[in-house]
Amino acid sequence: MYPSRFGYELPKTVEEAVALLDAHGGEAKVLAGGQSLVPMMRLRFAAPEMLIDINGIEALHYNRVDADGTVHIGALCRHEELEDNPAIAKAIPTIAAAAPLVADPIVRTRGTFVGSVCHADPQGDWAATMTALGGHIVAQGPKGKRDIPIADFVIGPFQNTLAFNEIAIEAVIPAPKGVRVGNYLKLERRVGDFATASVAVSLDMKGDTVAYAGIALAGVGGRTINANAAASALVGKKLTAENIASVAAAVAAVAEPRTDHRGSADYKRQIVKTFVERILTGLLNTSQKAA
């Protein structure tokens, strides 16, 4: 790999990192897991003058579930650490389902959840998952911290709303209203491939009534597709075959797929519809079994 020439800093604290970003006035880039940034540098699609490697900031390396069920994912939490993680699986089943489908096992040991959300790849799994969950990102800049709701954070393909001198230090997913259930399905051509189409579904259940419904899609548009409005039709209702079918159709309608060598726009819509149906039907079946 022969990227363009670049400088490199390895700060030990977030403050130091922020100061370095500030000092380089937009010419520096944060290096987290490097699993998106480094391939782009290899292809010379990206040629940052300076890399601020945050891997030395041990304080950012965590994931935890608060007593009330709020989940915090630090900027150095690797994809792998969300896989086979009983606390996460209990708190956010959608993350547990998506984790083994992100990239391949090698990439998962390096890539970070927060880095992936920052990268805002329309085909990325975590931006979609976060969108369905409706959490926020905590950003830290020279003037301190601020919370950015996920809907205001990922605003387009490879675009987030961080200022040049801000670092995303953690992702926060709020406590559920009731019991959180969910799932993630992804159609990929082989392991390590980005999604042809994928669907993240997260529901908060009060008894058998839906208290919150979030659905987001990856791979079926020029940006992460937020289908929460379509999903909200389920709120206050019990899951039934009928409302599952109508939500699946509504979600498929908000997808913005394009025809390419992975399939036609219609095909991708069909996958979205099938996956929404399969996930919701699965959730309905398990809740019926539990009852």
């Binding site: 292809l43 010379r44 082989r190 392991v191 025809t259 060598h261 399939g263 036609s264």
Partner: protein, 793 residues
């Protein structure tokens, strides 16, 4: 006592691969591991466009970058008569473009610098002005009248057609069709793929002005051919050229041709007088070096009502890219395409082949196959599947009825090949039993009633391996024999060198086993060396499954020469006449008294210390082997799939492979070859292809787009063996490296098409990506051609 052959690592021993010790420990020695004093680094500037006239090249900004030593352009190559070089198919290929670029990724300039970073920076600083020309990305565009002529550099090249070739008996075939009850048709496309070895191509050229010697370390599957070519093209004396292929990180046919990068690095070293290293990056490898396949195949089969095959008509339209650089025996224009249907008793056949230039990378290498037999066998087995359905016959029974029977050998195929051995029916039976074919029809019907789509695909074939014999097979006039040289040291240890070139096949392991089998010298006592033209005997290299059939035979033959001399020494040591000597593994003994004997090691010592009067000292020899015929392994593959009707995703439930590759030297290595080949077959069927958009941009220029399957999705394989020894090979082996890549893809496609058969689907072209399968199953229509690459809504 005779030795236990398995214990000494002889024939049939699943001896651990000697190579793996160093590879697993990261101690292999690849071209990029070699560092020479004062070495410079070369990087190529490639064309971003597929077809354009070069108006100007300005390299001045590249020279402004500190550390840049030399920038080479086509003009500078032309001044030394090196702008063009010959290909392996009697065409020419641009080394660095002078007039036009003809495909995306074509070599335009080269920078030689102190390190590869600088070289890459400098490439970006070169300014090339292109005047775009119309782009041709498939043979149908190429054949349109009035289409842009790609090869306007050539005289007598009015359009884009490269060749129009035929073989077979047209009149007899027409007659068969006139008499047929049923005519079944098939039309398909075998997509372009790339061998994509883990290690890309590369070279280090080291020209020493003081000695006049040129040493080139390079990634070549055929170093001796390179030496000959360099001698002829660069006009250097052959004895002053040394080509060394160290460990190769895979080849699969990709490392047979001579690429511009090698040639440029040689000139760069001659000009700079220091070693110059060129290591291609992955994208460079994928977009510019030898691809495989890219053929449109059409044909029809003449059948009698009862299912007997009467005749076969085939036509191929092939896409060769911008230069006709197929690696193939020179007699044939489309490799051994006419080996199609060799396992069936088809009385008459005719093939017409037309090849075209397009604005795509050149190549047409034998990607893990014996020269286009992959396309031939794929077409054959898709045609057979369709014909059985058209007749309303069972897939397996149709095959059984038409396969050449055991008592019909030697069998002359309608295209003129002579197959000589096999037990095709037995292989079919074993496979049917293993896949559970008996109750499959009922199972399929039951599954369909539950909305599940089950399918079983079969693929049976025999393929021609081990070119040549020298009467019929040559590359650029050099006959396709091979060689081995064996030197037994005083203590009975030995070194063996062959003209083949290992690139993962395990020659170091298996050649030693042949020596062990012939001489009783434990395999562990035999060093195997290949790839250095100053030390290895002349050979044609390793590709087309030819090493065991040809070089492996040479190993057996040279060992026999050694044994013949050792026998004379034994007679001398035992003080009896040679006629009274008998051989058992590792030992000569006196016929009348088995106790009195000497080991091969005793003979080796005597060859240097106590030879008979008048005998030349030493125990070494060489053998050049010219095989009397090709070898004909047989394969029967069975794949069972289930298709998800809502997504088009297909899951492989079971794969059964029955291989008859004759005598197995090392069963473990054979099984590794078959599993690797089946993985590639699955890859072709499901995901691995290269395509181009209308502007000639290569889709498949990196591993996000060019998909190689991982261990994750690759199915498991159940392997079975049948052994019919090759009647003419010294140890009865037939070659196996490629059977599974060749016959495998059709088994996967046949399985998916079978699952959808009741919906009226006759064909789904590869890659059978879920969206294509879904479209077929929802529309009941065939899916043809490449996946579209145009983006749309």
């Amino acid at each position: 006592m005779a030795l236990d052959e398995i214990k000494i690592g002889g024939l049939g021993a699943s001896r651990r691969r000697v190579e793996d010790n160093r590879f697993i420990r990261g101690k292999g020695n690849y071209v990029d591991d070699i560092v020479l004093p004062g070495m410079l680094h070369m990087e190529l500037l490639r064309s971003p466009v597929a077809h354009a006239r070069i108006k100007s090249i300005d390299v001045s900004k590249a020279y402004d970058i500190p550390g840049v030593r030399l920038v080479l352009t086509g003009e500078m190559m032309a001044a030394r008569n090196l702008a063009w070089m010959p290909t392996l198919s009697y065409d020419t290929q641009a080394v660095l473009a002078t007039d036009k670029v003809r495909f995306q990724g074509q070599e335009v300039a080269a920078v030689i610098a102190d390190d590869p970073y600088i070289a890459k920076d400098a490439c970006q600083a070169i300014v090339v002005e292109y005047e775009q020309l119309p782009v041709i990305v498939n043979p149908f565009q190429a054949m349109e009248s009035g289409s842009e002529v790609i090869r306007d550099d050539k005289e007598n090249q009015p359009g884009n057609k490269i060749f129009d070739w035929e073989i077979g008996d047209k009149a007899a075939t027409d007659k068969a069709f006139a008499e047929a009850d049923v005519i079944s048709k098939m039309e398909l496309h075998y997509p372009r793929s790339h061998p994509s070895p883990m290690e890309t191509c590369g070279s280090i050229a080291d020209f020493n002005r003081a000695t006049g010697k040129l040493t080139v370390y390079m990634t070549s599957q055929a170093p001796h051919i390179v030496r000959a070519a360099v001698a002829m093209v660069a006009e250097l004396p052959e004895h002053m050229i040394r080509i060394v292929s160290p460990d190769l990180g895979g080849g699969f046919g990709n490392k047979v041709p001579i690429y511009p990068g090698y040639v440029i690095s040689i000139l760069a070293s001659i000009l700079t007088e220091v070693p110059v290293k060129w290591i291609e990056d992955k994208t460079g490898n994928l977009i510019s070096t030898g691809f495989g396949r890219d053929v449109y195949l059409q044909g029809e089969m003449a059948l009698r009502k009862d299912g007997k095959m009467l005749g076969m008509r085939m036509k191929t339209i092939s896409d060769h890219g911008a230069f006709y650089a197929d690696a193939q025996p020179s007699k044939f224009k489309i490799g051994l395409m006419h080996s199609a249907f060799a396992c069936y008793d088809v009385p008459a056949a005719h093939l017409e082949s037309v090849g075209y230039y397009t604005n795509k990378a050149p190549g047409g290498v034998a990607y893990r196959c014996s020269f286009r037999v992959t396309e031939a066998m794929f077409f054959q087995e898709r045609m057979v599947h369709a014909a059985a359905n058209d007749l309303g016959m069972d897939q397996a029974e149709f095959r059984r009825m038409n396969l050449v029977k055991d008592d019909m050998f030697p069998y002359r195929t309608a295209f003129g090949f002579l197959t000589d051995s096999g037990q095709y029916g037995k292989c079919l039976d074993i496979g049917m039993k293993a896949i559970g074919y008996d109750n499959y029809k009922a199972e399929q019907a039951e599954a369909r009633s539950r909305g599940k789509l089950l399918g079983i695909g079969i693929s049976t074939m025999t393929e021609p391996l081990g070119a040549g014999n020298s009467r019929e097979y040559d590359i650029l006039g050099i006959k396709m024999f091979d060689s081995a040289e064996l030197r037994v040291h005083m203590t009975g240890k030995a070194i063996l060198r062959t003209g083949a070139m290992n690139q993962g096949q395990g020659h170091q392991t298996t050649w030693a086993q042949i020596v062990a089998h012939e001489l009783g010298i434990p395999a562990d006592d035999v060093t195997v060396e290949e790839g250095d033209t100053d030390t290895a005997p002349f050979g044609m290299g390793t590709y087309a499954s030819r090493s065991t059939p040809v070089a492996g035979a040479a190993v057996a033959m040279v060992a026999r020469k050694i044994r013949a001399k050792a026998r004379k020494i034994a007679a001398h040591l035992l003080e009896v006449s040679e006629e009274d000597i008998e051989w058992e593994l590792g030992r000569f003994y006196v016929r009348s008294n088995k106790e009195r004997g000497v080991t091969i090691q005793d003979c080796a010592l005597a060859a240097y210390s106590n030879m008979p009067d008048g005998m030349e000292p030493g125990l070494e020899n060489n053998a050049y082997y010219d095989p009397p015929n090709l070898t004909w392994p047989f394969a029967a593959y069975f794949v069972k799939v289930e298709v998800d009707a809502e997504t088009g995703v297909w899951d492989v439930l079971k794969v059964v492979a029955v291989d008859d590759c004759g005598v197995r030297i090392n069963p473990m290595v054979v099984e590794g070859q078959i599993m690797g080949g089946l993985t590639e077959a699955y890859a072709m069927a499901s995901m691995q292809y290269q395509t181009y958009d209308d502007e000639g941009n290569c889709i498949g220029s990196n591993y996000m787009d060019y998909l190689l399957p991982t261990a994750w999705e690759t199915p498991g394989f159940e392997l079975h063996e049948v052994v019919t020894p090759c009647p003419h090979h010294p140890i009865g082996a037939k070659g196996v490296g490629e059977c599974a890549t060749v016959a495998g893809p059709a088994a996967f496609v046949n399985a998916v098409v079978d699952a959808l058969g009741h919906l009226g689907v006759r064909n789904i072209d590869m890659p059978m990506m879920p969206n294509r399968v879904y479209e077929a199953l929802t529309t009941g229509k065939d899916i043809s051609g490449m996946p579209p690459v145009k983006m749309g809504d």
